[in-house]
């Protein structure tokens, strides 16, 4: 196990153009599962490939276990990597694939068999050892790739979107397995993904990247609830955070915290609440936090019923943002249905409002906001 440190790392592919990675500083913790999250072209894969030694940085330093590894080959870095395509050797059996790193690093032959069996056992693929990669399903291939990566007990694990080739259902179970796997081996892991759900589910911390720069580093809850800037605020969450812009300030609130007024009316007289909403729909007020609420009337334009929730798309006709689309996510345990082109009483708790500087997009402290 080892800590990975990145210092002022930059990668420029073509001189004179914007770098793929620009002056990144990062440090993992011992045994941590760190997720690099960003849209395509954000530099996350380039960053991972530089850590692996497949790409040479233009400037900056990479340290693994306290040693600068810039000039070391991938084999000398003590890392293992799982590629998006898994990159299994198609002409070798699963056993030979898993044994390849041992062979390549000249581990004595008599250790191959027990090590291969240990790695295969850890991933439950003992029965597949004599098959060829083409005879395996996507999920099985992914496990073989993981087994090949752990067999020589690397100091750092690098995973490049290992779940993106799996279908949606398999992805969820593979994600759980990956999480459990990490709990067991506790090796420092750097995981690249563009899927925010994967990032939130797996990461001890998430590094949000955009245009080759770190936008925010934090636990899943920190990046979601306290986004550092408007990019992070809109990149995480689906649908993304509602952003309303005035001259110098942008205010944002999450669609799932923008709710029918009755649901977040801690002080509303109980009979008023029961007139509009059935009691079973009510969320206990203290679950939503105390404090003021901002009443906002939502003109629903259309709605999507997604089973567990309803997503309502509309406008705020009684504010100065009457042309700005906003959306709300209402749990489907609220039985009320919403008719298009009708205005409903909604509200957002005041402490859910996030403020950003209109020029820089950076987060700023709360301030009075002119709704009208």
């Amino acid at each position: 196990m080892a800590v990975v440190q990145i210092r002022n790392l930059t990668k420029v592919f073509k001189a004179g153009t914007l770098g793929a990675v620009n002056n990144i500083n990062l440090e993992t913790k011992e045994g941590e599962f760190l997720v690099l999250l960003g849209p395509s072209g954000s530099g996350k894969t380039t960053l991972l490939r530089m850590i692996a030694g497949l790409e040479a940085p233009t400037s900056g330093e990479i340290l693994i276990g306290g040693t600068v590894v810039n000039n070391l080959t991938p084999r000398e870095r003590g890392i293992a990597m799982v590629f998006q395509s898994y990159a299994l050797y198609p002409h070798l059996s699963v056993r030979e694939n898993i044994a390849f790193p041992l062979k390549a690093q000249k581990v004595p032959k008599e250790q191959h068999k027990p090590k291969v069996e240990w790695a295969a056992g850890l991933l439950g693929i003992e029965k597949l050892l004599d098959r060829k990669p083409r005879q395996l399903s996507g999920g099985e291939r992914q496990r073989v790739a993981l087994a090949r990566a752990i067999v020589r007990e690397p100091r750092v694990f690098l995973l490049d979107e290992p779940l993106s080739n799996l279908d949606a259902k398999l992805r969820t179970s593979a994600r759980e397995e990956l999480d459990e796997f990490h709990q067991r081996i506790k090796t420092t892991t750097i995981y690249v993904t563009h899927d925010q759900v994967e990032a939130m589910a797996l990461g001890d911390r998430i590094v949000v990247l955009h245009q080759g720069q770190v936008r925010q580093i934090g636990t899943p809850q920190e990046v979601y609830d306290d986004p550092a800037d408007t990019f992070v605020a809109t990149f995480l969450g689906s649908p993304p955070m509602n952003l309303l812009e005035t001259d110098d300030v942008i205010v944002g609130f999450r669609p799932e915290r923008f709710l029918p007024a009755g649901l977040i009316a801690p002080w509303a007289p109980i009979d008023e609440v029961t007139k509009t909403l059935k009691p079973e729909n009510l969320l206990p007020a203290d679950l939503l936090g105390s404090g003021n609420r901002i009443p906002l009337r939502l003109l629903v334009e259309h709605s999507e019923y997604l089973g567990s929730e309803r997503v309502l798309y509309g406008k705020l006709p009684e504010t100065r943002f009457r042309d700005k689309p906003v959306c709300a996510r209402v749990s489907s345990s609220v039985l009320e249905t919403y008719t298009p082109n009708t205005t409903y009483d909604f509200a957002v708790p005041e402490h859910e409002l996030k403020f950003f500087d209109a020029k820089t997009g950076k987060r700023i402290p709360p301030r009075p906001f002119p709704w009208q």
Binding site: G53, L54, P74, R75, M81, F100, P101, K132, R148
Partner: protein
């Protein structure tokens, strides 16, 4: 009215059938007929003699020498071609400045007419005007008049013929190998590098095994081109000295056309067909197996 697609298909296909039938099928058929007859240039008669021609060529020492030479010529040229084109494909795969120009240069021997290239080599290897000899004498490696006769000594002549023929085949093989190498997903050698494999291990355990189907195709084509070709031999040595570079196609030409014994010439050239069919069968099977595996 709609025209019957099948009929149109057959009609459009006819020129190709006619071309193959007239230019390849008919001569082949004629060669088979000759091989079992006593046909000679200038005689009109045709007598079926069974396997007599084959029996007699098998007893001829020059045929046996030519058969042995053909095997040596083909196998050594193939080894040189595969090794050289593997190295070239490794060198030419990564992008570098002027790569297209280097690729073009390497392709030239294949594009240029073989007779022209071979005549060039004939001068390069000439007993009096050889530029190689001149350089070696100039460098004091050999004394004037003491330099080797590249085409005049049996072993050197065979080596020269093999090298010139390899020179001609290398571009073709390199192009095939480059295609094979490009078809390996980039992550595979990268994964090997991360797994700790160095250059040789990556080449011999990963890249070359993965290219096996395409290497077999290159070897198959190369073998057939070499086994059936006589241009280089004919121009450089005409089979000499003392038949030491005579291969089956050049012997067939010498016997059948220059020596007027059509029947024996046909038998010599047909002698190769079953061998080539067997080679093709095994190579294609190997390619297929490597592809499936």
């Amino acid at each position: 009215m709609a025209v019957d697609d099948r009929k149109v298909g057959v009609f459009m296909f006819l020129p190709a059938v006619a071309y193959i039938g007239l230019l390849i099928g008919a001569p082949l058929l004629l060669a088979v007929l000759y091989a079992f007859s006593d046909a000679r240039i200038g005689t009109m008669g045709f007598h079926f003699v069974g396997l007599e021609n084959f029996r007699s060529i098998l007893q001829s020492p020059s045929f046996r020498a030519a058969l042995r030479n053909s095997v040596v010529f083909t196998i050594s040229a193939q080894i040189i071609v595969i090794v050289a084109s593997s190295i070239l494909s490794i060198a030419l795969e990564p992008a570098f400045h002027g790569r297209w120009f280097v690729r073009l240069l390497i392709l030239l021997p294949w594009v240029a007419p073989i007779s022209l290239g071979a005549i060039g080599w004939k001068w390069i290897l000439d007993s009096i005007y050889s530029v190689i000899t001149w350089v070696l004498v100039w460098a004091h490696i050999f004394k004037p008049y003491g330099a080797p006769m590249w085409l005049g000594e049996p072993t050197l002549a065979m080596a020269s013929v093999v090298l010139v023929h390899s020179w001609r085949l290398i571009p073709f093989s390199t192009v095939i190998m480059l295609a094979g190498r490009t078809s390996i997903p980039k992550e595979i050698p990268e994964a090997a590098a991360i797994d700790g494999a160095g250059f040789w291990r990556t080449e011999f355990l990963i890249n070359i095994p993965m290219m096996m189907p395409i290497i077999s195709v290159a070897v198959l084509f190369g073998t057939i081109f070499t086994f059936t070709d006589m241009t280089v031999v004919y121009i450089l040595t005409a089979g000499g000295p003392f038949d030491s570079t005579q291969v089956l196609p050049s012997l067939a030409f010498a016997t059948g056309i220059q020596g007027s014994d059509l029947a024996a010439g046909a038998a010599i050239s047909l002698f190769l067909v079953p061998v080539l069919i067997l080679i093709a069968y095994f190579m294609l099977r190997a390619a297929h197996r490597a592809e499936v595996a």
